[in-house]
Amino acid sequence: MQTFRYSKPSSIDQALSGAPAAKFLAGGTTLVDLMKLNVEQPQTLVDINLLPLSKIEHLPSGGLRIGALVRNSDLAWNTDVKESYAVLSQAILSGASPQLRNMATVGGNLLQRTRCAYFREPASGTPGGYGCNKRTPGTGCAALQGLHRTHAVFGTSNQCIATHPSDMCVAMAALDAEIHVQGPKGKRTIPFADFHKLPGNTPHIENALEPGELVTYVDLPKPVEGARSVYLKLRDRASYEFALASAAVVVRIESGHILYARVALGGVGTKPWRSHEAEAELQGKPANAATFHKAAEAALAAAKPRTDNTFKVELARRCLVRTLKLATA
């Protein structure tokens, strides 16, 4: 690991006045891991754990404001979240381990690197290491012809096919969350759908943050009255594993018909994958198996699997059908 300077400011303004090359350090669960691998090599770390961003508050609009430093476990166990945004609580508790959820923050979860094994292994494997356009732009993508069973089938490019790893973000995509950031140029808000970037030709750029900007809050809109929400995660083992496919669903049923539907998929996209196609198939339709299957077909219609991850298309279809059944049972 490279030597770094360390500071621990107590105000947001102080934190923002740090060196432009500084990285913010919160829970550390991704950053410290990647620093040990020399994948991340910050010269300065600004520890933001003293900043006043650890609260969950009610908004006048009826929504919920989540501070960027709220720990994942605190958010998952929050009474309001469990009652009104169940999909978010379930998603968080399905990810990582209890120790990591105690450390990891909401802001850090949003900003965790989209990563695959080749990204994490700069010095091993083939002579000179594996190519990774995300880690070192221009060095190619070892996953394209390599092991890519767990890689993405949505949002890929010929530069990168790594899967976005977060469960929390899939739920937030289905909840229409909004992200508040603050930087040297002031404050702004970013709709959740615009926050994460597709790899395209710049896979090393993973989100819409400008240099020096800090995530301060995530706002959830007022809960949809009468709606139910469910997160279902399918993976190689029962716990402490990334999703092969997951689904976050928020639906409201009246007289047997679907009046409101939000669908997002995890484990299949290079970013949390909101499916407007599935939502369009659900809207106004009878809440039955035939509708769910049509929605799942629509959701996966544009998937582009490769040799080893073709199975994800059918797995994600079944995952979405099952999740819709659970949410409307």
């Binding site: 621990k8 107590s10 669960t29 381990s97 120790q99 450390m103 402490y240």
Partner: protein, 237 residues
């Protein structure tokens, strides 16, 4: 592995008469990296085996009083070279002031290599195995994924602070009773996790215990006995 580790009382850092240390305070002067302390050295079994090329750990015979404020941000002070800092850690009810601590030092390595609290184990060093689990402010965390300098003002509990052989914590006693280990390497992490989960809002079933213990891997496969030990403590709580 050519570095020397000097465990002798060392007087060279005592500059002037110092106030008395409280019984629960200790100051450790850490030599900058790659500088061997002068004088003869003594190897401990641990330092010899660790192979870290560790620097000298000098415990002052009349250490400077660590009159550190209770919760002060550990900024790089004048005496510290870039990349090092002074931090006071509160561990098992005792304060340790570490001067010239490398900012890269994880909490795990600091506990083991600097403070010789070796009950906490290093397994994967990447947050995947749970052997390094300790409590920070009563919550379980992976000490391998945290820098020591981040923990000024935190209350840290390690396996050494939980119980003693003649007065074991109920979870430790249950692990003994149910044979919740084989080689023992993961055990301190398993026990720290199990103690923490007693206060977490998880369900009552064995399945809930298994999910709550998912961050601790046991390669000997003592899982059934570990679950039995945790189940027993929960039933009696």
């Amino acid at each position: 592995m050519a570095e020397r580790v000097d465990l002798r009382p060392h007087a060279s850092h005592v500059t002037s008469p110092q106030p008395e240390l409280a019984p629960d305070q200790q100051t450790l002067e850490l030599e900058p990296l790659n500088v061997s302390p002068t004088g003869s050295s003594r190897f401990s079994r641990r330092s010899f085996l660790s192979g870290l090329g560790a620097t000298g750990l000098l415990v002052g015979s009349t250490p400077q009083a660590a009159a550190a404020p209770a919760i002060a941000p550990p900024v790089e002070d004048q005496a510290d070279a870039p990349g090092s800092a002074t931090v006071t850690l509160r561990i098992n009810g005792k304060s340790y002031t570490l001067r010239s601590l490398d900012t890269r030092a994880t909490l795990l390595d600091t506990l083991r290599e600097r403070l010789h609290l070796t009950g906490t184990k290093k397994g994967c060093d990447h947050g995947q195995c749970g052997a390094c689990t300790v409590h920070v402010n009563d919550r379980r965390v992976n000490s391998c994924l945290s820098f020591a300098v981040m923990h000024e003002g935190d209350e840290i509990t390690t396996i050494e602070g939980l119980g003693q052989p003649d007065q074991m914590h109920p979870v430790q006693a249950a692990f003994v009773e149910h044979d919740g280990y084989q080689c023992g390497y993961c055990t301190s992490g398993q026990i720290m996790s199990a103690v923490a989960l007693l206060k977490e809002p998880i369900g009552p079933a064995d399945d809930d215990i298994q999910h709550a213990m998912a961050g601790n891997i046991c390669r000997c496969g003592a899982y059934g006995n570990i679950v039995a030990a945790v189940r027993q403590v929960r039933a009696r709580a």
